[in-house]
């Protein structure tokens, strides 16, 4: 028998892993749509109208899964982790509360943008879309704030299992709010951009070079590479700051992320490899001397705390080193891909991308999604055994109900069903409504 806690964690982890795909694209895509709408206003090139229209359709379909899966995540928190939500309800209710308003703004104006588009003025359409993008962004930022609070709790005094001097606004502005929420928001824009780049590159391979459809997707690709490049760079800068926050507030998480056992100055940075508990080393890693100290505190003699300073039962799982590496590795690769693409197209003014590079671009979207999955699993597993750092243990917040295994299977089946149908429906729709049809319709209307 798997124990209750493990099944509860697996069930909730599965919900989040599923939801996060739709949620992240749901934050990233509105910015792409808004960019296309604005580019149309600037250039009057109807291709951008077609882009906005097709991305909106995709967005609407993904919301059909993202909204209910988000509802599941929100409610499942109370069902599986009643002890956690009791504490959050008392100390940190504001982000969830304010997120509702952001959610309402997104839902109201999404319907207005989609179903009232022809009846409202163009400027009102842009405003509606801006509110959709802002609502989506705000929801992501606010929900991430709860996650930030779990890592750097604030706004209360905790003695003998009781909370005193509760200040919900101090909890809201907990130390890692801005840096953590910023990371999630920026990386969502990265994902939105590279998912579009993936599709555009794939369609460029499928269509004849220089054809109407090819040129359409090439425009989409350039937009996504520019935005993807900017935001992946910003994500990296912010990520560096996030790591420094770990150094300050959750040293054992940073130690596990880097596979560092002994506290030391001039600490080396271990890239790759697998952390080994027995030998207290990262097997097969490339070690760069002194760099970890520098990254953690901007100087080589910064003392970085190692895992051995903590009792072993409070260590995060050691596999997070691999997840951390995957996230950082993919993030860096995406910066490189965007740079290469822009230089090739805009500076060298080359006519076409080499085929291998198009394949790399096709992979960039799925890679971006893998990176955020790794990032979230790293962030949440790395906090273990705590659900609220040094206040509430995950094991103490889990539901007392048993037989969660059946629920796990039920949710698993529904997620599989929805994953398959959403792909089938999208493919069906875009096969039936080809780019060429849309492009010709848009031209004849203009």
């Amino acid at each position: 028998m798997m124990d209750n806690l493990l099944i509860a964690r697996s069930l909730f982890g599965m919900t989040m892993a599923f939801h996060i795909i739709f949620a992240t694209i749901g934050v990233g895509l509105p910015l792409m749509i808004l960019t296309a709408e604005l580019l149309y206003q600037k250039t009057k090139d109807t291709d951008y109208v077609v882009m906005a229209k097709r991305w909106t359709k995709t967005f609407a379909v993904l919301l059909g899964v993202g909204i209910p899966s988000g509802t599941i995540a929100g409610v499942q928190l109370s069902l599986l982790w009643p002890g956690f939500m009791e504490t959050i309800g008392r100390v940190m209710p504001l982000p969830f509360q304010i997120e509702i308003y952001a959610f309402f703004i997104e839902a109201l104006f999404m319907s207005i943008y989609v179903y009232a588009a022809e009846r409202i003025a163009p400027w009102m359409r842009i405003i509606s879309l801006t509110l959709v993008a802002l609502g989506a962004l705000a929801s992501a930022v606010l929900i991430t704030n709860v996650h930030a609070f779990q890592g750097t709790p604030a706004g209360f005094r905790y003695e003998n299992g009781k909370f005193f001097d509760i200040n919900p606004w101090e909890a809201f502005f907990n130390p890692s709010f801005f840096v953590t929420a910023g990371h999630v928001a920026l990386s969502a824009y990265v994902v939105g951009a590279f998912v579009v780049a993936s599709v555009a590159a794939f369609k460029m391979m499928k269509n004849k070079h220089g054809s109407r459809v090819y040129l359409f997707h090439q425009k989409a690709l350039v937009v996504s590479l520019v935005l993807g490049g900017i935001f992946s760079l910003l994500t990296a800068v912010n990520g560096h700051e996030s790591a420094q926050y770990l150094h300050e507030y959750q040293p054992e998480k940073l130690a596990a992320a880097e596979g560092l056992f002994e506290t030391q100055s001039h600490a080396p940075l271990a890239i790759g490899g697998i952390t080994d508990r027995e030998t207290q080393s990262v097997k097969g890693a490339i070690e760069i001397p002194w760099v970890l100290s520098f990254l953690a505190g901007n100087s080589f003699d910064t003392v970085v705390v190692g895992l051995n300073d903590f009792p072993e039962e409070l260590w995060p799982p050691l596999f997070i080193h691999t997840l951390f590496n995957a996230m950082v590795g993919i993030g860096s690769l995406l910066i490189l891909i965007a740079l290469l693409g822009i230089v090739w197209k805009k500076l060298l003014k080359k006519d076409r991308f080499p085929r291998w590079f198009l394949w790399v671009l096709v992979l960039s979207g799925p890679l971006a999604v893998i990176a955020i999955e790794c990032g979230w699993i790293f962030a949440c597993s790395g906090r273990q055994p705590w659900v609220i750092y040094r206040v509430l243990a995950t094991a103490d917040s889990v539901t007392s109900a048993t037989n969660l295994g059946v629920l796990f299977l039920a949710f698993f089946s529904v997620y599989v069903l929805l994953s398959i149908t959403v792909v089938v429906v999208l493919r069906y729709f875009f096969r039936k409504h080809t780019e060429l049809d849309d492009l010709q319709k848009a031209e004849s209307r203009a």
Partner: protein
């Protein structure tokens, strides 16, 4: 008014708004399935015209409701979360399938029929499960094992009052939504659809009131404390019944504006909403101070006072910001003749 009472009033407000919106939403989905093969009446089109722009907003209310529970009554949320694990999960699973297939059915038009059947059937089951939270909160189906509350599914599903509540939820869902769609199709000048929904309303109205009486009967034997306290407000219950009769009358009388058309569905919608409002007030008042009988009261479940003040402040600011948005939304989808009287596709 004490903070606890303000908080439970806010929560009750959310429950009421969501239950009205959800009945319209799930009901419209069900009707759109029922009339799928009767293309001439446009009854399906009318249901979809209402449903397409509103379902996301309606869905937001259920999240708002859950968030209100744990930010206003966190200790009650602990018990509710524990005992509602199974019914709550079932609702979530059905809701996920329902929403997704609702969207898919509008996108993959060739497969509209099977997709609409899935969303229509899962949708009509949800109100029945949602309302089960009420009989569960009466406490009789909760066992305590080692200090932890456990919901006994066997006791729940062998109880007549559970089935009375389920029947009431489903008939009310169909009743309210047929009234709304009657009004909606009348404003849209789809008279064939109007006649269909008017007829449905006339049948389902008496049925849902009958189910309400059945609930009272089962409460009398199963939950006497609640029954006695509800009957203390008998004048209000009778007023509620009066509004039902006004609503019913409005369906049969000729229209005030046009004598050739039978029924004033707008008045019926308003009267019946008032009917439910009064009835739910009586139920809620009798339920106090218990959130979950007998251990969790609004006092024992209440949040920290500082947190309450902060949350309350966000309600006021949030409402002020959102209100114009809701008005604009309403004017575009409930009021704009260009949307309502569009040619049906």
């Amino acid at each position: 008014m004490a903070n606890e009472l303000i908080a439970i009033t806010i929560l009750w407000g959310f429950v009421f708004i969501y239950s009205i919106m959800a009945t319209m939403d799930f009901g419209a989905g069900f009707w759109s399935m029922i009339y799928l093969n009767r293309e001439k009446t446009k009854a399906t089109n009318i249901a979809n015209r209402y449903l397409s722009p509103t379902w996301e907003v309606t869905n937001t209310f259920i999240v708002a409701l859950v968030v209100a529970v744990y930010s206003l009554f966190p200790k009650a949320a602990y018990t509710l979360g524990t005992i509602l694990l199974i019914p709550g999960s079932l609702i979530l699973l059905l809701l996920a399938i329902r929403s997704a297939f609702l969207v898919f059915s509008n996108i993959a038009t060739e497969y509209k029929k099977p997709l609409t059947y899935v969303s229509g059937i899962t949708g009509i089951l949800i109100p029945g499960l949602l309302i089960s939270v009420l009989p569960i909160s009466h406490g009789a189906f909760i066992d305590y094992r080692g200090g932890h509350p456990v919901l006994s599914l066997q006791k729940l599903f062998t109880s007549p009052s559970e089935y009375a509540f389920i029947g009431f939820a489903i008939s009310s869902t169909l009743f309210l939504s047929s009234l709304l769609l009657a009004d909606y199709s009348k404003t849209s000048r789809e008279m064939d659809a109007y006649k269909v929904y008017l007829r449905d309303g006339k049948i389902l109205g008496p049925l849902s009131v009958l189910m309400a009486f059945v609930i009272m009967l089962t409460l009398k034997t199963e939950t006497p404390w609640l029954y006695t306290r509800m009957m203390e407000e008998l004048p209000l219950l009778l007023t509620s019944l009066g509004f039902f009769l006004i609503g019913g009358l409005a369906l049969f009388l000729p229209s005030y504006a046009d004598k050739n058309i039978q029924g004033m569905p707008r008045i019926a919608v308003i009267a019946v909403t008032v009917q439910y409002f009064i009835a739910s007030y009586v139920y809620g008042k009798a339920h106090l101070p218990y959130i979950v009988y007998p251990n969790i009261t609004i006092q024992s479940g209440f949040t920290d006072p500082n947190s309450f003040m902060a949350v309350f402040a966000t309600y006021i600011v949030g409402f002020a910001i959102l209100f114009p948005g809701f008005i604009y939304f309403w004017s575009l989808f409930m009021h704009d003749k260009r949307y309502l009287r569009q040619k049906s596709r």
